[in-house]
Structures are given as structure tokens and as C-alpha cells.
Symmetry: C2
DNA sequence: CCAACTGTACCAATCCGCTTAGTACAGTTT
DNA sequence: AAACTGTACTAAGCGGATTGGTACAGTTGG
């Protein structure tokens, strides 16, 4: 599925959240697919179930995941992703672009990079 | 200069570091310019000098700042910015682009956004 | 109907990073 | 000499992250 990096300063639950989101963005998990259960994923990663739950709560706030009582957690539709998440991404994109341009990269180089990112996701 | 957001979950020293870096990227602070002294900036932001020093240490590791014993801290040349920092930025850029494309934005829209970021920096 | 699964909600305990406060020292400037 | 610069310690407190354990309500399959 994905792995944890204990050298990383980021909290484990953030690594889990980002790892799961990445699976959705890359198409490995598609709309309606069921996420692994809290306990199963915790056992798989050798961490506490509470930490997994925390990651799921965060993903649900972002709109990438919804839960059905007693059944499990499932991947939501793209349209359900929160506007707050989209704004955060745009800020991240703009800030990275501005600093890369300052450091000497060109608009063309970054444009090619965006096109390449689209290919990678297919 | 810039301000702190105590509602933000990010540590103060990171907010200071990012705020100072932003001043460099936008051209408010240029190569060779002196940064405010540790104590002066601490007083200005009403926080502990140790916290400012920590931000300066981080900026120095990134290559945006260098210090001269007894004189102060100064803005470095673009060429001195660490490769590690550049790689981190590229990863941030690529990840944001991939997720925005997944959410329905087009390559053209993001391309225009990059061009706009270049204008904003002038 | 029951056993096994699902998410969810607590609590207590521990660990670690962030921040503050204070003191101190070496180098530079005026 | 006085006033500034960055830097280096130590001690203390606070709060978030993580673990471990228990518990409950809803769903599913035998």
C-alpha cells in the first residue's frame, strides 16, 4: 500500500493521510472503492488504530472519504472535495511557483512540468 | 515587516522563517541586504530571541542567509540556495499540480497561473 | 440469532518538540 | 569603553502526537 518514514519529522497520522490521498489522486483508489479498515491498516503498518482513525477523520474533513456506519470508509466523488482543500492547494502551487521562478526557473519549464504531472497520473 | 498568526498550528519559528523568505522572494529584501537583528526582530514580534535565532539557523541551512561574526545576518545570492531546498520546492510543485489536475483543473489554467505568479513578483 | 466485522469514543500515560527566561561570551562598530 | 552583532548554554513548562486499553452501536455472513 505505502510505507512510513520514522525519520520524517511529520506526524504519522499526516503521513498516513497523505499516503492515502496520493492513492486516490493517482487512481489506485477510485470513487466508491472501500478503504482498508482502521484495524487492518493499523496492523499492516504496525501502529495504533487510534492513529489511523485520526488520519481518516482528516481525510473526511477534506472530502476525500466518507464513512457508512458499520460498513466502512469509502472514496468520495471529486465534487465532494472541500473548497478549503482546493484553496490550500492553490496557495501551495502559487508559492512554490513564485520561489522557483525567483531561483531562475522559467515559465516554460514549469509549464512542461505541469504537463508531465498530468501524464504521470494516467 | 510581517505578522504572526497564533491560530496557525505551525510553530512560530517556521512562520518567521517563511515570512522572511517571502520577503526575499518578492524582492523586498535583496542580495547583500542586512536582516533585522535577532533581538530587534524578537522585540518587534514580541517573542523570545531564541525563537528568532532558530528561524535564522533554518534560513542559513537553506542558503538564503549568511552571517558575519559581530556584524549581522545578510541575504545570500540565489546561487547559494541549497539544492535540497530546490528539490523540496519541485516536489511541492509537482504534488500540488497533480492533485489540482485530478480535481479537474486543466494544464492551461495552471500554466496561466504560473505566468501570473511571475508578474506578481515584479 | 450469533459471531465477526465496521467506525467511533473515551481515558490514562508517555514522549518529544516548541517556547520562554535568563545568563554568558566573542567579535564589530562608533 | 559602550553598544551593538550572532551564538551557546541551562532549566522549566506547555501542548500535540502516540500508544494501549476498553467499550459501544451498526452491519454482514454463516
Amino acid at each position: 500500500m505505502f510505507s512510513l518514514n520514522y525519520r520524517d519529522a511529520r506526524p504519522i497520522y499526516e503521513q498516513v493521510r497523505d499516503g492515502l490521498r496520493h492513492l486516490v489522486v493517482t487512481g489506485a483508489i477510485r470513487e466508491g472503492d472501500q478503504f482498508p479498515s482502521v484495524r487492518a491498516l493499523a496492523a499492516s503498518l504496525a501502529i495504533n488504530p487510534n492513529t489511523i482513525q485520526r488520519a481518516y477523520e482528516s481525510l473526511e474533513r477534506e472530502g476525500y472519504l466518507y464513512t457508512v456506519a458499520g460498513k466502512g470508509a469509502f472514496a468520495a466523488r471529486k465534487a465532494d472535495v472541500a473548497g478549503e482543500r482546493r484553496e490550500r492547494l492553490l496557495r501551495q502551487f502559487d508559492e512554490a511557483a513564485a520561489e522557483l521562478l525567483f531561483l531562475g526557473m522559467t515559465v516554460e519549464e514549469l509549464g512542461r512540468r505541469v504537463a508531465g504531472a498530468k501524464e504521470g497520473a494516467k
